[in-house]
């Protein structure tokens, strides 16, 4: 993690924590389909990035060839929420290698809710208030 990114990140995460306490389930939909208690850390390569409403999606190919799940669909908040915690519409591109912390679907399917993403340049971003924060690092 680059130290230069920690100020705004810390502020964004602090804001996210506070908002999560105030409004846990008031997003586009409830996040109850995700298992928040068993978060995973993945390193992968972006195959597709959709900056869209009602949600932003990252399609990620797992860089660990031995992992059980090779391809993950990762749900993020929406462009408005992400803009307000410092994201930019073009900051993730196909081919980027990302480190993400996610809450996987309870069903065991290869989908997950983003908690935190580390970009190739080391900058770290949360996923806004309603999605909640990373519980692992």
């Amino acid at each position: 993690m680059k130290t230069s990114g920690r100020g705004p990140l810390a502020a964004a995460l602090a804001m996210a924590m506070g908002l999560a306490l105030a409004a846990p389930a008031l997003a586009h939909h409830s996040f109850a389909m995700y298992d928040n208690d068993h978060q995973l850390k993945l390193i992968g390569t972006v195959t597709h990035f959709q900056w869209t409403n009602p949600h932003v999606y990252i399609e990620l190919e797992n860089n660990d060839a031995t992992a059980k799940v090779q391809h993950w669909t990762i749900e993020c908040a929406n462009p408005g929420i992400l803009d307000r915690v410092g994201w930019k519409f073009n900051m993730i591109k196909p081919g980027d290698k990302l480190t993400v912390i996610v809450a996987p679907l309870r069903t065991g399917e290869p989908g997950a809710l983003l908690k935190q993403v580390t970009l190739p340049d080391g900058r770290v971003f949360g996923n806004g208030a309603p999605a909640g924060k990373a519980l692992i690092q």
Binding site: H29, M33, Y57, T107, P130
Partner: protein
């Protein structure tokens, strides 16, 4: 026919005198506003603390309906198959839920009109100043209802009627076609806006139900567009929500 046109034209001309000067005499509530969530690590500003939502005074049959719905939602969440709300189906939340402002609200003041835009779904409420409210059965039902307003001192008092019965009430509380929502919107500090809501619905409520929202000004914020173009939440036959996996 000619007379009808002349009358219409005359009315249109007659409706024009509201000017920028008229707006200049009104309290300025224009700008972008965000729900005033508490900020972590900072003392709670009592002006921003709305406290818990007062229990809605629902008549017994509606209270039973609402309690059963909430129980069903809780069970669905525990199963990991949350019940699809309006938003999960790419539908706007409508009145009064949009005034909760999980996304920013923009207020515009123009002659004869106050317009409220909520960023999510680009929802738009038009509040007509100085017009009389219609009656149940005459007002065409919609997501935002028909809103008329007037200034009472520093407060914009708004009456909304005609919210579609299919649009869930705030926190899914039932409502009927007779529902009126009375709002008193006013600045309680230069950068803090309050919306005191009172729901009157004699079919559903024992007595009027009041709660309030408080907003903080977002200085310099430019509202974003919101087109619900990529909904990958699939609603199953039981109303549960599932993520559609792309696999690309």
């Amino acid at each position: 026919m000619a007379l009808a046109w002349a009358v219409t034209a005359g009315l249109a001309l007659g409706a024009a005198p509201a000017t920028a000067a008229e707006i200049a005499g009104q309290p300025d509530i224009s700008g972008v506003w965000a729900h005033a969530f508490p900020r972590p690590g900072q003392p709670v500003d009592p002006r921003l603390d709305v406290g818990p939502l007062p229990q809605p005074p629902l008549k017994p049959a509606y209270m039973a309906q609402w309690t059963a719905l909430r129980e069903k939602q809780k069970e669905a969440d525990e199963r990991g198959e949350p019940t699809a709300g309006m938003e999960a189906r790419c539908l706007p939340d409508g009145m009064p839920s949009l005034m909760f402002a999980i996304y920013p609200l923009e207020i515009l003041q123009t002659p004869g009109r106050v317009t409220v835009i909520e960023e999510a779904f680009s929802q738009t409420r038009r509040i007509y100043l100085g017009e009389a409210q219609g009656k149940v059965g005459d007002v065409e039902p919609g997501y935002y209802g028909h809103s008329v307003g007037r200034w009472e001192g520093d407060a914009l008092v708004v009456d909304t009627l005609g919210i579609k019965e299919s649009v869930p009430g705030y926190r899914d509380i039932p409502h009927s076609d007779e529902e009126h929502i009375i709002e008193r919107i006013r600045l309680i500090a230069p950068d803090i806006l309050e919306d005191q809501m009172t729901v009157e619905d004699p079919k559903v409520l024992d007595h009027p139900w009041s709660f309030r929202f408080v907003y903080r000004r977002m200085t310099g914020y430019h509202m974003l567009e919101y087109v619900c173009e990529n909904n990958r939440e699939v609603t199953d036959a039981n109303g549960g929500t599932h993520l559609q996996l792309d696999g690309k």
